[in-house]
Point group: C2
Chain length 354, copies 2
C-alpha cells in the first residue's frame, strides 16, 4: 500500500468540538464531584473529540507498532551498547521476551515489529514487517542521515503499517522504537525544532558516563551545524538528523490521526517522531496522548513543544513503546468512566448544596 | 471474627531483605538497560520483600474494601454535599454505578462495601458488610468523635473484613472511603500527626468555596485545640478526630501487612488511615504502595510523613479507593516484568560495552 504524504496530511481534521462539549456535559451528570476525576475527565473529552462520538467507545482493540532502525552516527561512539543489539532485541521482541511484550500482554495490545532500517539482514518472521528502507542511516555527523526520498519512504512505511492495523480493527494505537544510537537522533530532532541547546537536551540514553554524554552532545551539535535542518520543514529535519524508525513512528501517528484513532505517545524517541508529525500536520497533535515522562532529559522539551502533559512519570527510559502501553490502561479507564458511571438522577444521589 | 489490636500488630514483620536482594539481582539480568524501568523496578523489589518470594507472584486476586461512615462535624457546615449522600452513594456502590465500581471492573478487583458508621440505617444487601459501630461520629468540634473503644472496634472491623477476603484468596488489596465530611477528619488526623497547620492542609473536599475552606480549617483547629489528640498514640488520634471508615481502613491495612499482602493506598482519607496504622505499627508502612496523589492539599503532607511517593498524579479527588484501584495495573505490570522478561543470556542479547 503506497501512502502519499499529501493525502495523509489532508485527511487529518480538527477534533469534533460538539462531541467534546457533549462529553463535558455528561461528565457533569455523573455521581462524583464535578471535575474530581482530573486528567481522566479531560482524556474522555479528547477521546470524544477524536472519535467524534459521545460517549467515546471503550478502546478494546489495541496495538503497539515497534519500529526498528540503526544509526550511522554510532560510529562516533554515542551509545553504551553495540549496534548488534538492535537485531538481537528485534529477535527478542519476536520471541516475546522483551519489556514491550510483557507489558503488551498485560494491556491486551497486539505487538507488530517493523524493520524500518536495521543494519543487519533480518530474516522474515511471524510478527515482523520487513520494510527496511536502508541498512541503517548514514552518519549524521558527516552529512545527512538519509535522503529526502528515504525520509518520505519511512513515513509512508509507518502509515502503511498503521493503516493495515486499522483495517484489521483498532481503537487505540501506541508507537515504540528500537535502535542503538537513536537517542542521539531524537536529541538532534528535538534541538532542531525547539531551538534548545543539545547540551541541555542530551542524556545518558541506555547508560553513558558523564563524559560520554558530553561527547554525544558535541556530536549532535556538529551534526546540526553541518546539516542545518530547517524546523519549518519536517521532512528536512527527519532526513538530515532523524532515523528510519522515527520516520515510521511519524507516519503511523499521521495515519492514526487521519483515521480518527487516538495515539499514545511513548518516550523520547517516539516524541521525536511526534515532533516531525506535528511539523508536517499541526492538527495531528490533538490525536496524541502523552503516555509517560521519560527519564531522558530532552523529553520534557519535546513534550512542552507539543503542549502535551504525560500521564505517567515513573522514571522509565526503556523505549520500545513501554511507557505508552503502560498508559493504555488509563485511557481505557477514562472511557469506561464516561460510559459506565451512573448519573445523579439515575442513582438518586443528591447534588451539591447551594 | 474478633481481632485483637495487639495480636494484629505483633504479626507484622519487616520485609524480607533476602528476597529483595534476589529481585534486584534478577532485574539486572533482564533485557533492558539497568534501572531503566524506574519505579516499576523498585516496586518489584518491594513486592518481593512483602511476599517473601523472588520473583514475587503476579497479583491476580484483587479486592478493594470501601468503608463508609458519617461525621458529626458536618453540623458545622464543612461539606458541599448533604449527609444523605453517604447512604445514597453506598446504594450506588451496591448497584455498581459509582466510579469505584467502574474502575474495579477494569482492574479485575472485587468490591466489598462496609458500613462502618453510616448515620442512616442501611438495609442488608449483597456485597454489603453491616459493621456499623455507631450511626456516625460525634461532632469533634464539640468533643471526641468517638470513644477509645469505638475506635478500636472500627480497626477490628476493618481487620476482620480484610482477613475474610484474605481467606477467600487475595494478592493485592486497596482500601477506599465514603463519608460526607471525612476530608475534615482526615485533615485533623494529618495535622495531629505531622504537626502541620490545618490552614495549610485544608482543601475544598468535594467542592467548598474559598470561604468554606477557611471555615473548615477553623473548625479543624477548634477540634484539635479542644481534644488535644496525642500523636504518639494512634488510637487516641483516631478516637478524638477520626472516623469509623478511617478506623476500618487502618485495620484492613494492618491485617494485610500481617498477612504479607501489599496494600495500595488511595487518596487523602485512606492515607489518614495509613497514618493511624503507621503510628500503631511502623513496620506496616513497608507494605503500603501509594496509588496516587490526590488534588486535596493535605495529601502531600500525609504521604511525606509516611515516606511514600505516589505512582499516579492525575488530579483526582474522588476517594472511594479510585486512585488505588487505578494504580493496581502498575503493580501488576511491575510483577509481570520481573516474572516474564527474558534475561540477556536467554535472549542472546549483548550486554553494555565497557
Amino acid at each position: 500500500m503506497i501512502v502519499s504524504l499529501g493525502e495523509l496530511i489532508a485527511g487529518i481534521r480538527p477534533l469534533d468540538e460538539a462531541a467534546m462539549r457533549a462529553a463535558q456535559a455528561r461528565q457533569d451528570l455523573l455521581t462524583k464531584p464535578r471535575g474530581s476525576m482530573g486528567r481522566l475527565e479531560a482524556l474522555s473529552l479528547q477521546l470524544a473529540g477524536i472519535t467524534r462520538r459521545c460517549p467515546p467507545p471503550v478502546p478494546a482493540r489495541k496495538a503497539v507498532l515497534v519500529f526498528a532502525g540503526d544509526h550511522g552516527v554510532v560510529a562516533q561512539g554515542v551509545s553504551a551498547y553495540p549496534q548488534e543489539v538492535t537485531p538481537q532485541m528485534v529477535a527478542n521482541f519476536l520471541r516475546g521476551g522483551a519489556a514491550i511484550n510483557v507489558l503488551s500482554r498485560g494491556a491486551g495490545a497486539r505487538v507488530v515489529i517493523v524493520d524500518a532500517g536495521v543494519a543487519a539482514p533480518m530474516p522474515p518472521a511471524d510478527g515482523l514487517v520487513s520494510g527496511k528502507i536502508a541498512p541503517g542511516t548514514a552518519d549524521m555527523s558527516l552529512g545527512p542521515a538519509m535522503t529526502r526520498e528515504q525520509a518520505a519512504a519511512a513515513i509512508a512505511l509507518g502509515a502503511g503499517v498503521a493503516r493495515r492495523e486499522i483495517a484489521a480493527g483498532l481503537d487505540l494505537l501506541a508507537c515504540g522504537d528500537m535502535g542503538i544510537g537513536n537517542t542521539t537522533a531524537a536529541t538532534a530532532i528535538t534541538a532542531a525544532f525547539t531551538g534548545s541547546s543539545p547540551l541541555h537536551l542530551t542524556g545518558a540514553g541506555t547508560g553513558l558516563t558523564p563524559a560520554g554524554v558530553a561527547h554525544k552532545a558535541e556530536v549532535v551539535e556538529r551534526a546540526l551545524a553541518l546539516n542545518r535542518p530547517d524546523p519549518a520543514d519536517g521532512l528536512d529535519v527527519l532526513a538530515k538528523v532523524g532515523g528510519y524508525e522515527i520516520g515510521g513512528i511519524c507516519g503511523a501517528m499521521l495515519a492514526a490521526a487521519a483515521a480518527g484513532i487516538p495515539v499514545v505517545v511513548d518516550g523520547f524517541i517516539a516524541t521525536a517522531g511526534a515532533l516531525v508529525a506535528a511539523a508536517l500536520a499541526p492538527d495531528a497533535v490533538a490525536y496524541m496522548i502523552a503516555g509517560h515522562r521519560s527519564a531522558e532529559p530532552g523529553h520534557d522539551a519535546a513534550l512542552a513543544w507539543l503542549g502535551l502533559t504525560p500521564l505517567l512519570d515513573l522514571g522509565m527510559r526503556v523505549g520500545e513503546g513501554t511507557g505508552a502501553v503502560l498508559a493504555m490502561n488509563l485511557v481505557e479507564a477514562s472511557a469506561r468512566i464516561i460510559n459506565e458511571m451512573a448519573t445523579f438522577a439515575d442513582a438518586g444521589v443528591s447534588e451539591k448544596a447551594g
